[in-house]
Symmetry: C2
Subunit: 150 residues, 2 copies
Amino acid sequence: MTQKNNDKKDEFDLRNFLPFLLNQAAEESSLEFQRVYKDRYGMLRTEWRVLFHLGNHGEMTARDIVVRAKIHKTKVSRAVRRLQQRRYLQRLRDENDRRVERLSLTTAGQKVYRELSGIAREYDGKLAARFTTGEAALLRMMLRRLAGMD
Amino acid sequence: MTQKNNDKKDEFDLRNFLPFLLNQAAEESSLEFQRVYKDRYGMLRTEWRVLFHLGNHGEMTARDIVVRAKIHKTKVSRAVRRLQQRRYLQRLRDENDRRVERLSLTTAGQKVYRELSGIAREYDGKLAARFTTGEAALLRMMLRRLAGMD
DNA sequence: TCTTGTTAGTTACAAAATCAACTATTATTC
DNA sequence: GAATAATAGTTGATTTTGTAACTAACAAGA
């Protein structure tokens, strides 16, 4: 009773460990898309994330992005600066609370956002096509729950 | 027909983009475990990964780890050195091919591996408990497929 | 109103990751 | 068997990230 005849059951299986699997899947599945924003647009991961959030949600403050995307504020700060240098976004000091900057995409930024989000959607479709519609929906739901996004 | 009355359907939804979801889930779900190996054992992420691979699979070369874990060889090289400095692993020059080093855990390394893998398994159980058994199994299957591990 | 606390965002310094070039050894090909 | 290519692994320079400390603006209580 105490010692099972098949010890294998007690062994830890790294290749089934959820954090490991999630990491591998995340890395593998972003490789191809990464090449697009990196090689074709010279953007870093945090930069396209910020760009996407702004394009997706509209005007936001840096803090909004920190909270919604769970990106550290120093990373956001630096990404915003680089995006601004490339004229993809503009900052607007909020006159009611002068600590706050309201961030929004420029026309150029919106253009890049449209291009990249088109590619992203297509890419997402390709990934999801490996599963049935129901499976894919379930996957997204489970990932949202694991990410604490519900 | 060309222009739908509800434009929302055409909009890109970042929060459903699989690479984004995978990333958020991966980050969130490794946070708690990270605190264990980082704060309690002073290990970096690459280090516990290498340790886990060796503990899980037994003797391997650095290259084996690079291939299986998809970690860059410079990261593996540096992680191996640090693990060796902490006397968690030993290197053995392969006499048949003197370029190769056969890596294995020391007794101390095995002890740490057992402790950490116990915690990991428990933690994995907690994560999986958010779903039904069938859902969790399906999730792992889907992640393996996305990670290119089948 | 002043002083104490909080929040938005930036900056400086240390740690880590990435990329390219390197050494040493083995495999291949002429 | 000498020349060339390929592989295992390391090292160094550059970039990027993470941690802490910082400035500036606002809030709240005495």
